[in-house]
């Protein structure tokens, strides 16, 4: 059973953590609703990738339950990139909610 998590930095309550448990529909629905709301308010959602690096989610794909991120740049020693596939937006990858740890950061007030 895979469970992704989303931590949201909060003023008084500390970071709020919700999980995307594919076996708990209610909690998952709440988490997705939170994500869409945060996206609308300009939050930055930083998603942890398999290699330990982070990238910002460009969109929230509610229908497929995934973060849409920019395809990570290949390493310097990687072979020449393959031609883009037809029908798929170039340069974007989807990461399912259940497979990722993410942190949400609110808009800046300045400083």
């Amino acid at each position: 059973m895979s469970t992704g998590t989303l931590s949201v930095l909060n003023v008084g309550a500390g970071d709020i953590q919700v999980s995307f448990n594919q076996h708990d529909a209610e909690e998952r629905q709440r988490a997705v609703r939170m994500l869409k709301d945060m996206q609308a308010r300009g939050y930055a959602i930083l998603v942890r990738l398999d290699d330990g690096t982070y990238t910002r989610a460009l969109e929230i794909d509610e229908a497929h339950g995934a973060y849409v991120i920019q395809t990570p740049e290949p390493a310097a020693a990687a072979p020449v990139a393959e031609p883009p596939r037809r029908g798929r937006r170039r340069g974007r990858t989807k990461v399912p909610f259940e497979q990722a740890k993410a942190i949400g950061v609110a808009r800046s007030a300045g400083g």
Binding site: V11, G14, V47, I103, V105, G110
Partner: protein, 234 residues
């Protein structure tokens, strides 16, 4: 009598249940709280601050004074004010570098009334999962740690309750060169302090995550202070 921190913590937990994810920023008497433009509590906080504010003192003179220009002098390390009254144009300096820096530091201590210790502990626990153990030890011991961006090769000094410093290797070899101080507070901050609405370690986590996840966005959203300016926190 509950403290500001306890009120903020309890209300923030309540508002999370109502889908207000950021929590409730807490106005502190004597400090001006600035919130980000889309924060749902801007009006409430402004009303609370207006109620807390002391009445303005009566003017000592009826002669109007027009402020023509204000800037911070790097050489003098003070604010320079050009003002015009009925007698002509005059130049003044305000404060001193030491007094400006001391005021920001002391007022940051005052803003700490809005932070709950349990909230800071939660943030410290989260930070421990995001950095290596020896880096975490550095933060606990000194309130700072370093991380170099693999993308830009800029080295960042993340500091508790101070702006993040950006450094890069000197082009001529040898020491690192300071670029600027990056100041960014998600949700809100208290003017003329180094304090944000969130606890200091939550601010550090915000800087760290933005740097790792979208470094250009981090630089776009942050205010970039010269290292010689008091706002750099040096």
């Amino acid at each position: 009598m509950p403290t500001y921190a306890e009120i903020s913590r309890r209300l923030s937990a309540l508002y999370v249940q109502r889908s207000e994810w950021c929590g409730l920023p807490m106005p502190i008497p004597g400090l001006t709280l600035t919130l980000e433009p889309k924060n749902p509590f801007r009006d409430i906080c402004e009303q609370v601050e207006a109620a807390q504010a002391e009445p303005a003192p009566a003017a000592e003179s009826d002669d109007p004074v027009e402020v023509v220009n204000v800037w911070f002098s790097r050489t003098l390390q003070r604010d320079v004010v050009i003002a015009r009254d009925r007698t002509g144009v005059r130049a003044y300096t305000l404060g001193t570098s030491v007094s400006d820096r001391m005021r920001a530091m002391v007022q940051t201590i005052g803003a700490a009334a809005a932070w709950h210790l349990d909230t800071e502990m939660t943030a410290i626990d989260l930070l421990a999962t995001l950095v290596k153990p020896h880096i975490f030890d550095s933060y606990l011991m000194t309130g700072m740690f370093l991380e170099t961006s693999q993308r830009s090769q800029v080295t960042y000094v993340f500091r508790r309750a101070r702006p993040t410093l950006a450094l890069r290797p000197s082009l001529h070899g040898g020491d690192m060169v300071g670029l600027c101080a990056l100041c960014l507070h998600p949700i809100g901050y208290y003017q003329e302090t180094f304090a944000g609405s969130m606890t200091p370690t939550d601010d550090v986590i915000a800087h760290l995550m933005l740097m790792r996840g979208d470094e250009p966005m981090f630089w776009r959203r942050a205010n970039q202070h010269p290292l010689w300016h008091p706002t750099a926190g040096l």
